[in-house]
């Protein structure tokens, strides 16, 4: 009787299969993942893989040839413009599908669907900020414009042409590891991606932290700690520019002083925040300052550094234009780049376009709220959040005249709040035609075209640098920004009174700009766009230092070559340290230092102010500054609420440079009256202790201390690049920090035959098993560039072309 052993061994086989196909007993479905014909092995791309392919898609109107060069940059030649977007979508999906879907899922507050309950707070926060609401409004705007609609429809069709033909074996490895499947792309997803960029670039606010700071400190101390004026400011549009009287006259509400500025609310909320340092540099040297006589445009947007990269490099060539540059997987067109006539680049505008209003509901039902002396009806938007392996979470979000009520007693980010309700007014809720702006820039031939293109860009506001073959250069601080009265939206505002609402938008022709200025260059580095003579309130949160050094360098330079610009773009010179170090060296009491302290002080003195990888000076300075900040301000902040703004480095430095008996130097916990010398010496002693620990770990050199890394988007360490030897820092033009920095470096010289260079810290393929996954990283780390090749028709036989894809209907 062999039936029993038969049943037994069949049961063992079935048990093995179930175990190895699921995560029931093992942490991963090992059978599924390791099957050589299905699993991760299929993502191990042959080291000599070729990319020659022929496709037929009935959606295409004409032929499209794609020539892939030795860096896997596609040069797309399409007979019809919209076919180029179809192929752009196809290629983005082929090389970057997982990241496209991950970013749009995160934007839509759908991360819980993939990774489960741990993402619920993120999902609720994004839904309550109105990300999907904003994307839907954007989508309407996109669909209403025939150009944008046609390009998005073609792009979406291209992405879906790839998705619908994908096999399980060919899925990006992250789908296999996490265990889910891609869904079809839609134009809404493109809108969501753009809102994700708005979140990253135009959602930063400190309203809650600043409200607490205002409540905790006296008005005099508050002004000292959080000044709106920066002594070292060199604005984007230079001082002395004459501005006409404002067309939009804003009036502070009658109750502003009594109700708003004097309000003493303490809040205990904590928000998910975009990196406050999302900055960038761009500048253009006019022909008068360059060796060739042609303008040179430079741009390096600083963003979170990730693998796969945010950027994908490509050329789009159609009968209407020929453009090259960095594209966003998730959207059609080239975002930063150049065509046959012009070049452009962007930095973030960084103005505060996200404000909060305290709402008074009639009762817990939230059906009515008090507004302009009457009860007004609330609208509700039901957010259904799917959670992996769990029941859906239903969040009923109240919408007011200001926008969604983001925070209430059921939701406060990661902290507990009282029973108050806060609605968010965010500029990204308004329609914006950013895709049309980029589409028109791709077509632009001259300054007038550029101007017509960029004025479509409302949110996120960007400083658009421009240069043209005819020698024109320009800089425009572009966006649609609320006209605010001084101090409006710095703190939480009352939501019961329409006089606190944004009263209008700054007209487009009042946006500060420069066109062919006498000084022969334009530049921006996220500093304040204009000085105090600009007739609208600009807020207080701008980093001044990179702009300072860029303008100093450009002013001094002449007969500039592209190589000079490369050296400048990768410059590690720290202008903040240049201003702060003398303060330390002049005031320190050397006699009170031990042997190690004296050694570190000597190294600090000898430092050449460059944050180079093997220098010890930047490490010593950085630790010393942190200790100094703590010695000066710790006592004042000891009893302050936890959620509070910390004064900017520039505020502390300016304060002491202006007044060496700066009020906060005294430690209020001691009876003695501490001086600048006392604080500097105490800070140096504290820094010495920390530096000894760093030195024992061999972390005294800057690169080792800073440990720059490029994280995989799902933070899978083996797919990340860690401990990269990169110099620079927050206040250097090479603003590379630990996981944030120049995400795309580009230099374009607009000579008769355009010459351009660029590099980004990543690779064209999103597949960690491809040789093209991170092959640009080392070049980027070394501060080197690749020539950017604008291929011409007829160059198909060029040695740089390695593969060809043909698309036809």
């Amino acid at each position: 009787m062999k039936l029993l052993p038969c049943i037994l061994s069949a049961a063992v086989t079935t048990g093995l299969i179930i175990t190895l196909n699921s995560k029931l007993l093992l942490p991963a479905p090992l059978g599924k993942l390791l099957s050589p014909q299905h699993g991760v092995w299929q993502n191990a791309e042959n080291a000599d893989a070729t990319f020659n392919e022929t496709f037929n898609f009935p959606q295409l109107k004409g032929k499209v040839n794609v020539y892939l060069d030795d860096r896997l940059v596609p040069h797309v030649f399409a007979e019809q413009e919209n076919d180029a977007y179809f192929v752009q979508g196809y290629l983005h999906a082929k090389f970057r599908l997982w990241q496209m879907e991950l970013q749009t899922h995160a934007a839509a507050g759908r991360a819980s669907e993939i990774i489960g309950e741990k993402a619920l707070t993120h999902d609720r926060e994004f839904r309550r900020l109105g990300m999907v609401y904003a994307a839907e409004i954007s989508l309407k705007e996109m669909q209403a414009d025939p150009t944008t609609r046609a390009s998005c429809d073609a792009y979406t069709a291209g992405v879906n042409a790839y998705i619908s033909n994908i096999t399980e074996a060919k899925l990006p490895i992250e789908y296999k590891l996490i265990g889910y499947q891609p869904e079809p792309w839609t134009n809404l997803k493109t809108a969501l991606f753009l809102k994700y960029m708005s979140y990253d670039l135009a959602a930063h606010d400190d309203d809650i932290e600043m409200t607490n700071a205002k409540t905790y400190f006296s008005p005099a101390d508050f002004d000292l700690l959080y000044p709106s004026k920066q002594d070292s400011l060199d604005p984007i549009i230079p001082k002395g520019t004459i501005y006409a009287a404002p067309k939009v006259l804003v009036k502070a509400p009658a109750t502003a002083d009594s109700v708003y500025f004097a309000n003493k609310d303490l809040l205990v909320m904590q928000e998910e925040k975009p990196d406050p340092e999302n900055g960038s540099n761009n500048w253009v040297a006019a022909g008068s300052k360059t060796k060739s006589g042609a303008p040179i445009l430079c741009n390096d947007p600083h963003l979170g550094l990730n693998l796969p990269s945010l950027w994908f490099e490509m050329q789009l060539s159609t009968p209407n234009f020929n453009v090259y540059g960095a594209t966003f997987p998730g959207a059609p067109s080239v975002i930063i780049g150049f065509n046959d006539n012009v070049a452009w680049g962007v930095t973030n505008g960084g103005r505060d376009v996200r404000d909060y209003y305290e709402i008074k509901f009639k009762d817990e039902s939230r059906n009515e709220y008090w507004f302009d002396s009457a009860w007004k009806k609330t609208e509700f938007r039901t957010e259904t959040i799917k959670i992996k392996d769990q029941a859906d979470y239903i969040d009923k979000v109240a919408y007011t005249v200001f926008g969604p009520v983001m925070y209430d007693k059921t939701f406060s980010g990661s902290r507990i709040t009282g029973n108050k309700y806060y609605a968010v007014r965010w500029k990204a809720h308004d329609p914006s035609k950013e895709l049309l702006a980029f589409n028109m820039l791709n077509h632009a031939k001259n300054y007038a075209d550029y101007l017509a293109a960029v004025t479509n860009m409302h949110t996120p506001g960007q400083n658009f640098a421009f240069a043209a073959k005819n020698g024109d250069i320009a800089m425009r601080t572009q966006g649609e920004w609320p006209a605010k009265w001084k101090g409006q939206g710095d703190f939480i505002m009352p939501g019961t009174d329409s006089s606190y609402m944004w009263q209008g938008m700054i007209p487009q022709d009042e946006n500060p700009f420069q066109y062919n200025p006498e000084r022969g260059f334009v530049s921006s580095a996220n500093q304040k766009p204009a000085d105090s003579t600009y007739p609208y309130y600009l807020g207080r949160n701008y980093p001044p230092y990179r702009g300072l050094i860029i303008n100093r360098k450009l002013t001094a330079m002449s007969a500039i070559t592209p190589q000079d610009m490369m050296a400048m773009q990768t410059s590690n010179y720290d202008v903040f340290a240049e201003m702060a170090r003398p303060l330390f060296l002049k005031n320190i009491d050397e006699g009170k230092l031990d042997e190690s302290g004296k050694k570190y002080l000597d190294l600090l003195k000898k430092w050449d102010l460059n944050n180079d990888i093997n220098a010890t000076g930047p490490t010593i300075f950085s630790v010393l500054w942190t200790c100094f900040d703590s010695v000066v301000l710790r006592d004042e902040f000891k009893k302050a609420p936890q959620v509070i703004s910390h004064p900017f480095e520039s505020s502390l430095l300016d304060g002491i440079l202006r007044d060496s008996s700066y009020k906060f130097l005294d430690n209020i916990e001691t009876s003695a009256k501490e001086t600048l010398a006392d604080d500097v010496t105490a800070a140096f002693k504290a820094a010495t202790q920390q530096l000894k620990i760093e030195e024992s770990k061999s972390h005294l050199t800057w690169a080792a201390f800073k440990a720059t890394r490029i994280n995989h988007l799902a933070k899978l360490e083996p797919f990340s690049r860690l401990n990269l030897p990169v110099g620079g820092g927050s206040h250097c033009i090479n603003a590379t920090k630990s996981d944030h920095g120049p995400s795309w470096r580009m230099i374009v010289s607009l000579t008769d035959k355009t010459e351009a260079w660029g590099v980004y810290p990543g690779g064209q393929s999103g597949n960690p098993g491809s040789r093209f996954y991170d092959n640009f990283v080392d070049q980027w780390v070394a501060g080197k560039y690749y020539p950017l090749w604008m291929m011409k028709a007829g160059e198909e036989k060029d040695g740089r072309i390695k593969w060809k894809m043909s698309f036809s209907n």
Binding site: M1, C6, A28, G31, Q37, L716, P718, P768, G769
Partner: protein, 113 residues
């Protein structure tokens, strides 16, 4: 002879099945082949086990060496906290071998029952 024929047949049919079916189709292949070509249960188990051990081992080794083991280095750290492509190849081979071995054993018993 039966051993060799079964071994080759399981390997070939598994490759074909996995072109269209999920990975566990190797179990059906091993089950049917050992049901059709009678062998001692122990030998059947060994046939299935060795067949897929060699097939999955050599396939994954071939793919990985063509990839200069770039991905295997990363995935072995990710899954097993050990940087060893050959460990990943070995585990791949053993997993397939175990499933095919027990499936072949079941086929052999069924034939005898």
């Amino acid at each position: 002879m039966k051993f060799i024929v079964s071994l080759v047949l399981i390997a070939l049919l598994s490759v074909a099945a996995c072109l269209y079916l999920p990975w566990w189709s190797i179990a059906f292949v091993a089950f049917i082949v050992s049901g059709l070509i009678p062998q001692q249960p122990g030998k059947s188990f060994l046939t299935g086990f060795i067949s897929i051990l060699l097939l999955w081992g050599s396939l994954s080794w071939y793919i990985s060496s063509n990839n200069n083991h770039v991905l295997a280095h990363k995935v072995s750290i990710l899954m097993f906290k050990t940087d060893s492509p050959f460990m990943l190849i070995g585990i791949t081979a053993i997993i397939g071998a175990l499933v095919a071995g027990f499936a072949a054993l079941s086929g052999s018993y069924l034939r005898r029952s």
